[in-house]
């Protein structure tokens, strides 16, 4: 008996003294659980706080087929009242299918349940309520938290916002470039739990709260963005262009009100589920092009600013001009025509423009190009922005100065192109465009984006004069006083603008093509009291933006401008503006 007592004493001693630390550690290991407190991803909203992208929680249904089947078989072997393995699995499949409908086809579920995998997902993005009910009924089905990103507008602003990937982080667009702002930081907390999973009270410790992601407010106007996207898509379809894009800026703040290209993808159905033909990028900032005649505004602004011409000066413009060993002619044949300076731009005469450019001179012209922001990124805040390409002054050859004023031999993005007209709309002060209006952190503190540095391009008088001159583009007339972009006019408002036709490069002959053009249009509405600036580009269309003959982007401008002026109840111009003389008699 003493022996037994002795043995017991030794064992007690052993457990309590020698083994104690290890056993305690094992026990602690079993009970301690560290739980990750996931951070909620910030939302992306438009300028009126309408959400464009936001995160919601759902559940994914998980299952471990091999293990559960084994457990069921063992339970069945022990007792006859336990459910039969196959019928149980079928019941699970049926229940899930009944609850989720077509999202979970019964056949697929049965395959998974009967399969040999160690782990499968039965369904994803399931309503948490429904998921909880399924799991209550069939505890073998597990639940996993799944954050899903909702895009209530579908493809609205998708080219800007982009999409998130499977792991909840951004894949493309602003979701990717602003990921560190939006994602936040996960937190954690530790607690002890019993074998049934219940929390042992008083055991919470090491709580690190999660820092939710900040929300980003864009300068985009959702309704306008949708309208522009729709119109751009229609213009592309009707004109037969390879692609089409449009940008709308606010005249006075330079904020991007809408930016769109055609064939935008729909992130709401999953990035990978979109057809292969969608455009995943954001053409207005990523893809530069040669602007063509839209660039003539640089010559106009320089000529007026340096007092080299007046709007009514009559220039005797020949049909072609020799400049620096290059011969340039107008798009239509004519002899020496008495175009006014206004008419040179209203009719888009290359020769007239080059005559005025010669007065400006190469140095002043190069300076004006850089003041207008060409060849430099706007730093709008969107990923993948291109700076375009402007040959630097010391690399100009003879023919360069014969090309640049008419918009060939340099490239710019649609955003830069629209930015030039914004400077003229804003009394000569160019404000680099921005897309992010403010950031709101998880506690609601709002941080406005820093205002960009303004660049004075020309004086206010010059800007006003140039705006007035460019009204001639939309001036309607049966005779010589007709501008090239009459379709852009909007009844009741003064509209300033410029059409553009730039030859694309033909890789076969490494020369400029005579059949493929970049068709551009930029306009200011209304011209007498500017509110909006719109820039449009159609890539190699065969017809006009509204399907009519010719190749013009002016009808698209008309639709967008008319819609905006109506939507914002912009007061009509008090008078249609003086009748401009494009060609002297």
């Amino acid at each position: 008996m003493f022996l037994a007592l002795g043995l017991a004493a030794v064992q007690l001693l052993w457990i309590q003294v020698i083994d104690a630390p290890q056993l305690s550690a094992e026990a602690a290991n079993q009970r301690t659980t560290t739980e990750v407190d996931p951070a909620l991803r910030g939302s992306i909203t438009d300028r009126n706080a309408n959400p464009i992208a936001f995160t919601m929680e759902a559940k994914a249904l998980t299952f471990q087929p091999a293990r559960v089947r084994k457990e069921l078989e063992e339970a069945k072997a022990k007792s006859d009242t336990a459910p039969d393995v196959d019928s149980r699995l079928d019941a699970i499949a049926k229940e899930i299918h009944d609850r989720l409908g077509d999202a979970a086809p019964e056949k697929e579920l049965k395959e998974k349940l009967h399969g040999d995998d160690t782990f499968v997902y039965l369904a994803r993005s399931v309503d948490p309520n429904i998921a909880a009910q399924i799991s209550d009924k069939f505890p073998e089905v597990g639940l996993e938290r799944q954050d899903i990103r909702e895009y209530p507008g579908g493809s609205l602003a998708a080219n800007l916002v982009g999409a998130t990937g499977w792991d909840g982080h951004g894949l493309l667009g602003l979701e990717d470039s602003l990921d560190s702002t939006l994602a936040g930081t996960d937190g954690s907390q530790t607690y002890d739990r019993g074998s049934d999973g219940a929390v042992i009270p008083g055991s919470w410790r090491d709580k690190q709260p999660a820092v939710d992601g900040s929300s980003v407010e864009l300068t985009i106007d959702s309704d306008l963005q949708y309208y522009v996207q729709q119109q751009v898509q229609m213009a592309k379809d009707k004109s037969g262009a390879k692609d089409a894009s449009a940008v709308v800026l606010d005249s006075h703040t330079g904020e991007v009100l809408a930016m769109s290209n055609d064939s935008t993808f729909n992130p709401a159905i999953g990035v990978g589920n979109n057809p292969r033909t969608v455009e995943m990028g954001n053409l207005p900032v990523s893809t530069p092009f040669e602007p063509g005649s839209v660039n003539k505004i640089v010559t106009a602004a320089a000529a007026i600013e340096y007092g080299l011409t007046t709007p009514d000066e009559v220039l005797e413009v020949p049909g072609n001009i020799q400049m620096s060993g290059v011969s340039v002619k107008d798009a239509w044949d004519h002899g020496v025509a008495p175009y006014t300076a206004t008419g040179v731009f209203g009719k888009s005469s290359n020769v007239g423009t080059l005559m005025l450019a010669q007065r400006v001179g190469e140095d002043r012209y190069a300076d004006m190009l850089s003041r207008f922001g060409l060849g430099q990124r706007t730093d709008v805040g969107l990923p993948g922005e291109s700076a375009g390409n402007v040959p630097s002054r010391d690399q100009w050859s003879g023919g360069t100065f014969a090309n640049l004023p008419i918009g060939q031999g340099l490239s710019m993005t649609l955003l830069q192109m629209t930015g030039m007209y914004q400077a003229i709309a804003n009394d000569g002060v160019r404000i680099p465009p921005r897309i992010v209006k403010a950031t709101v952190d998880a506690s609601g503190n709002r941080t406005e984006t820093e205002a960009p540095e303004e660049v004075t391009v020309v004086s206010p008088q010059t800007a006003s004069t140039v705006r007035d001159m460019f009204r001639s583009v939309t001036q309607n007339d049966t005779g010589n006083q007709r501008g090239t972009g009459v379709q852009a006019a909007v009844d009741g408002y003064q509209i300033s603008g410029k059409t553009g036709t730039a030859q694309q490069v033909d890789p076969a002959c490494k020369c400029y093509s005579n059949s493929n053009y970049w068709i551009t249009f930029a306009g200011i509405a209304p011209a007498d009291n500017p509110r909006y600036v719109v820039g449009i580009m159609l890539n190699a269309p065969t017809r006009s933006a509204d399907g009519s003959g010719g190749q013009s982007a002016a009808p698209l401008f008309h639709n967008i401008a008319s819609w905006m002026l109506q939507r914002d109840s912009v007061p009509m111009s008090p008078d249609p503006g003086r009748r401009l003389v494009l060609q002297a008699d």
């Binding site: 999202a103 309503d127 990937g165 219940a198 709401a268 999953g270 589920n273 009844d491």
Partner: protein, 224 residues
Amino acid sequence: MTVQVSSTEMRPARAANRTGAAERAYKKRTQRAAVHSGSAIAVSGKNRTGTLTARIPFVATILVLLAMGLAMTLLLTTRSAEDSYQLSAARAHNQSLAEEKAALERDVETANSAPKLAEEAAKLGMVPANDPARLVVHPDGSVEVVGKPAPASGAPVPPLDVAAPPTQRGNAVATAPNRGTTQSPRATPQPGNGTEIQAQGEQLVPVIPSTTAPTTAPPSGGRR
């Protein structure tokens, strides 16, 4: 001659004349007398602690205190554990309500979005009104019509989006940010997949039916 002192008779002691030894001898005699007579006589000097029954109240008090202490401890720990279960249940209920709320919010936002409104308008047969005529009221009260008033014509604009599979919308529900436990410890043992099990980098195809997306299509978001 020796005088036999009867045990029943006590001679008063002449204290002043006694020695210590004599005193002790007298005491012993008294005790013997008490033993013989069987009566308990209190002896001056040392007091004995009381008999058994006198001790009972004190012990009982201590026992009662002890018992109460144990009972209180038991009660409080049980209550605490019970509260813990109740807390989990309340959290779960709260979470499900929050989820419901977020689902409704999500539905409202979707229905309120520009594309959805345009779609609904198109379903009603509405068309975009291009170039409305405007009425200008001049200071003298006369009204001028600018533009050509005409009924809006044309076909409803087709929706912009590739249509999402209809059932996917119904399933995906959202919850408000869940600050509590995401997988609240369940009161009943959960022999299934616990929260500890995480898929490691598995490429998954979303379980949605789509006529354009075969199930072998690359998973959404999986392309890098």
